[in-house]
Amino acid sequence: MPHTKELVEKLVDTYGRSRESMLPILQDIQRTEHYVSDDAMVEIAKQLDISTADVYGKATFYSFIDTVPRGKYVIRVCKTIVCEMHNKSGIIETLENLLKIKIGETTLNRKFSLLYTNCLGWCHMGPAMLINDEVFTDLTPERVREIIAIYKNKN
């Protein structure tokens, strides 16, 4: 993919060719392409002069770096204890029905992915979820319907 190659080259110019640049590079690729492809990992390894296995090891270590394609909007619902106690399952059910996918899946148009995540740090305002970097708290099924309606209209 020529586009990926250019992207990696650009990021290496921005962050530098040292190993410390790897996580920022992976984060930017994740943001632009919604996952880190095999091609991207091979290219990073080449540019930073380290093994591809090393890049793969790093990419798969972090839960916010995906190595399988995700949607443009990744919804991560907190499943840790306090959110769980405050009707997390009702939120998941609403999301699954609205998006017509199960947890872990991506919609066919590649717009939404629905995932679980561990404690987001909003226990006092749970249940909580992230859509990409944006936080939503005090969720109710009604509020989830409103939020998703807004996102469905976004490009």
Partner: protein
């Protein structure tokens, strides 16, 4: 709030009208005096582990090196903790002051704020504060620069050596200790890694002096502490309270009248049942016994409608996923504990199997490489021992 539970508002209190005044004051003082003040204040790390902050700074200051680092650990991932975000949102200048004072004392030129990926929305406003901080550093003649390093969703990176590896571009796996980061930290150079709240507390010691600081809190737990209160409580939120309070008073204030148990210190902390509320204080004590619970500030309340089996299952799932997988006791241990309680619950294993699982947590406590694997035993044993019937039936 009742009189007995004093709200102190030290950490989140208003700024001094003159920006970076405390840092400016610290610039005029000898390093050894600042370190001595910190040691005298008895300030202990606010991330949960509770190491004496003054000693940490002293060790890093003692090592001769051209290159040193100050790291603010804002990888707040412990379930039930959300105070560091509040500090970084409301009083970021206090955190940067603390980092500046530390840099001056140990002789560091570079600092990082390791911010968890979940808090990415804070980056822009923090960067504005950092830019302003840099102009004050220049004015005060402090050769120090701070940058944000963003995490990407890994609980274990809150462990200080894992955090260092993460910044270095390696997998965020903990290192063996020793060497400690104060001797060989980031890129092998002396490094102080402090929790967000610790840096603010250190700055407060510089501001009000060790004697005044010591007046807050009881026994060996000095100063104020931010508590993140959540769960079955009508008053969930963040509270700046005196350290060393009794759990009974806490529950009176924050419980919903039906509190069955309180998890002190998050998933890696201890679960205290109702019958032990009166004999438990929250804070550090010289001799660590089960009745004095250190905490990073996470307080989760459970009322009698909650199944403690589900609570434990939820923690174990958390640990199983967040274990870095580097050492066997933690990687396999977390999986086996989760499978084990499931088997007992389903009747596939006899209730006595719980005792074998307890032995396993003891092994993990001794043999796991870092605090993550070592502390699984805390919640496991305190829940299984106090709520054994709920595990079986």
């Amino acid at each position: 709030m009742s009189d007995r539970l004093k709200r102190v508002d030290v950490i989140l209190g208003n700024y001094h009208p003159e920006k970076y005044k405390i840092l400016a004051g610290a610039m005029e003082r000898p390093n050894k005096d600042i370190i001595q003040d910190l040691i005298d204040s008895g300030l202990k790390g606010r991330g949960g582990a509770g190491f004496l902050t003054g000693l940490k700074w002293k060790f890093a200051a003692q090592v001769p090196s051209e290159e040193k680092y100050v790291i603010c650990n804002a990888d707040e991932g412990e379930p039930g903790t959300f105070k560091d975000r509040e500090i970084l949102t409301k009083v970021p200048r206090k955190v940067l002051s603390g980092m500046g004072i530390c840099a001056k004392v140990i002789g560091a030129k570079k600092g990082y704020i390791y911010l968890r990926g979940e808090y990415k929305f804070l980056v822009a406003q923090l960067n504005d504060q950092i830019d302003e901080f840099h102009t004050y550093c220049d004015k005060l003649g402090l050769d120090f620069r701070v940058e944000i390093f963003l995490g990407s969703g890994a609980y274990v990176c809150g462990e200080e050596t894992a955090l260092l590896n993460s910044i270095e571009g390696k997998r965020g796996e903990p290192r063996n200790k020793p060497p400690f980061p104060t001797n060989e930290g980031l890129f092998g150079k002396p490094t102080v890694v402090n929790n967000v709240e610790t840096l603010v507390s250190a700055m407060m010691v510089c501001k009000i002096g060790p004697d005044q600081f010591k007046k807050l809190g009881i026994q060996d737990s000095h100063g104020s502490k931010l508590f993140s209160v959540s769960g079955d409580t009508p008053r969930a939120g963040i509270y700046d309270l005196e350290f060393g309070l009794s759990l009974e008073e806490f529950v009176k204030e924050f419980g919903d009248g039906d509190t069955k148990a309180v998890q002190v210190g998050g998933a890696s902390g201890f679960c205290v049942p109702r019958k032990k509320f009166s004999q438990t204080t929250i804070g550090y004590k010289a001799g660590l016994d089960g009745d004095n619970l250190p905490t990073g500030g996470s307080m989760m309340l459970f009322n009698s409608s909650r199944s403690m089996y589900h609570v434990l299952e939820n923690y174990l799932e958390f640990f199983e996923e967040e274990s870095c997988g580097q050492c066997t006791p933690c990687r396999i241990g977390c999986q086996q504990l989760k499978k084990g309680i499931d088997a007992v619950k389903r009747g596939i294993r006899p209730p006595e199997y719980l005792d074998q699982l307890l032995k396993l947590t003891e092994t993990m406590k001794i043999t796991a490489k870092c605090g993550l694997g070592q502390s699984v035993a805390n919640s496991f044993s305190s829940i299984v021992e106090n709520f054994r019937e709920e595990m079986i039936y």
